[in-house]
Symmetry: C2
Subunit: 355 residues, 2 copies
């Protein structure tokens, strides 16, 4: 009886991540009773399809959380900061995809493949899901950590423009249309001049025919907020407050799927065959690592898929405890909607099955 399953609310149902969430809810084993779709007043009233049925989008109000067991928040930080505690006060378990609560000591930060137990201890009634950049690497690194004990990560990202929202995608597509078919990219500033005033672009430099080594806001001492987020979130998810992390975040002209070059140093010596074995069998990981055959993950192949893809796995030549890898993960799926859905499904299992 569907009515006895926990009820669900999707807050931010009309956004980019909300759209992916509706797909996932329609594809995954259905553990939910009623599903409410919720959005800002501007989007309320629209009709969306979930689980094969049309549903009207409701306006975000306090009352909308009455009788909602679990709410997925897929909204900007400030909306979560305001509304997640309101929902939680009603007894709703909130799974929040924003940055608002990720580093709150009373909010667990959960990646179901890595720290599923953490979801149960949630003093504020809120569970947070990590940043899309953290999620692109943590599943692979966490699997290796369980065997070898990770001590240090040096990470360089190749981030997709959708990490900067719909404006990021629009900026790339517009800029590509302006540079395609030209001879641009060979003289100082020629791309920048051809693009003119890139109004509306969230990037401080051209993102077509270019890379932009900056993501997020200033976080002091030359670091960007996204770089520090990777460090703090990896430490929290792995429960390793002393983990050494040095991240550099760089946008590349890719629509969706974040890639990362990872240098990991472990407590124990690495047997590369064993590392391969671990990655080949780890939940949520696909090992795709045969460069001779052209098999390594690239965003073009990984986009739209659920797992973290790992390739270019090799032992550091000058350090028996070091391992290099290249990982790709879809920032809109595992990097956002999928991880939230997985957390929610693990919470759903807590509800008594009254069938």
């Amino acid at each position: 009886m569907t009515a006895c399953r926990p009820s669900l609310a999707v807050v931010g149902a009309t956004g980019a991540i909300g759209g992916v969430m509706l797909q996932i809810l329609s594809q995954h084993a259905d553990v939910w009773g009623e599903v409410k779709l919720i959005a800002s007043p501007r989007s309320a009233g629209r009709k969306l399809v979930v689980r094969g049925e049309e549903s009207e989008v409701l306006e975000l109000t306090e009352d909308v959380f009455d009788d909602v067991d679990v709410a997925l928040f897929l909204v900007p930080d400030e909306v979560s900061a305001q509304w997640a505690p309101i929902a939680a006060a009603k007894g709703t378990v909130v799974i929040d995809d924003s940055a608002a609560f990720r580093l709150d000591a009373d909010v667990p930060l959960v990646v179901p493949e890595i720290n599923p137990h953490a979801v149960r201890i949630r003093p504020r009634g809120i569970v947070a899901s990590p940043n899309c950049t953290t999620l692109a690497l943590i599943v692979a690194v966490g699997a290796l950590h369980a065997e070898f004990g990770v001590r240090e990560l040096v990470v360089s990202s190749y981030q997709a423009v959708s990490g900067a929202g719909r404006e990021g995608v629009a900026a790339l597509r517009e800029q590509l249309s302006m540079v395609a078919g030209t001879e641009l990219g060979t003289k100082p500033g020629d791309v920048r001049r051809a693009l003119g005033d890139t109004e509306g672009s969230p990037f401080a430099a051209p993102v077509a025919l270019n890379v932009v080594p900056w993501a997020g806001t200033e976080a002091g001492d030359g670091w960007s907020s996204e770089e520090l987020a990777i460090r703090e979130e990896c430490r929290k998810v792995l429960d390793l407050p002393g983990l050494r992390v040095a991240a550099t975040c760089v946008y590349v002209p890719v629509v969706a799927t974040h890639s990362m070059s990872v240098h990991a140093r472990f407590e124990n010596e690495i047997a590369v065959d064993r590392a391969h074995e671990i990655l080949a069998t780890a939940p949520g990981v696909v090992l795709y690592d045969s460069p001779a055959a052209g098999d390594f993950p690239t965003p073009s192949d990984v986009v739209g898929t659920d797992p973290t893809w790992v390739g270019r796995v090799r032992r550091s030549l000058d350090d028996p405890r070091g391992l290099e890898l290249f990982v790709c993960g879809d920032n809109l799926r595992k990097g956002a909607a999928l991880n939230v859905a997985q957390i929610a499904e693990s919470v759903a299992a807590e509800f008594p099955q009254r069938s």
Copy 2:
């Protein structure tokens, strides 16, 4: 009297790097007597302009090196391997841009800003210039090394497609024309399918709307030749046979200028202000590091310029001996033609000035 200056030959004058070399020869202080332009029989007879004068391209033969004091080899490895010793046997000093002799113990590998002295000891009469990826980082790292003593480098590259030659540039331009104005880049393999058979592309995966974590050939244990080249060449130029280097080479959809995210660990503790000072005054380096103002190097700004640009300089949060930086260098200028020209100019200074 021009006739008393050393004579020069440019071998490979009709290629992409040859073209940049002719520009540089026309722009730099003129230290050369006669300049011969040399190419394969296929290109011989063409007329090119250097130093404001038209010159006919000569065919590469043994005799062409008669009376040539210095020859710049801007040709594929196998051409250098065959012809550089022939020229050297005639008493010509060969400056070779190919990989053929870079790791030969009897051939110095020279970056004039870092190890200018090495050019004088050349038992085979050949001097080699490093790979464009090495050159993108070595000038900045070498300057820091002189003060702090570098012990380890973790490098992830964002390499321009021109590093794969004219075919690389042609592949990117063609692919961009096919994906611009589309909604591609959001479904598994959609870019690959839209591009179809990317015949003639030197890349194993799409390079438009994608990144390709492979450069060069297989070098064993999962490493690519380009990754090992960075390691071996940094060690040789810095004269640090024990330097720990872990490089990951990745092509990005950029026409020219290689970028690198560098995590460097030094023997001595880093004062980040002092690191800034060193980089701001090091020859061949431009420090461009004020992220709050949007000032960090990107390929679009750096392409066509001579120096190595450095930004995002910050001390590692978890290691007082660690420093993070992001460097950009034009792979066709400092990464190829310019470094060869600088080496040649230092050799020219050895010749007695008979004015």
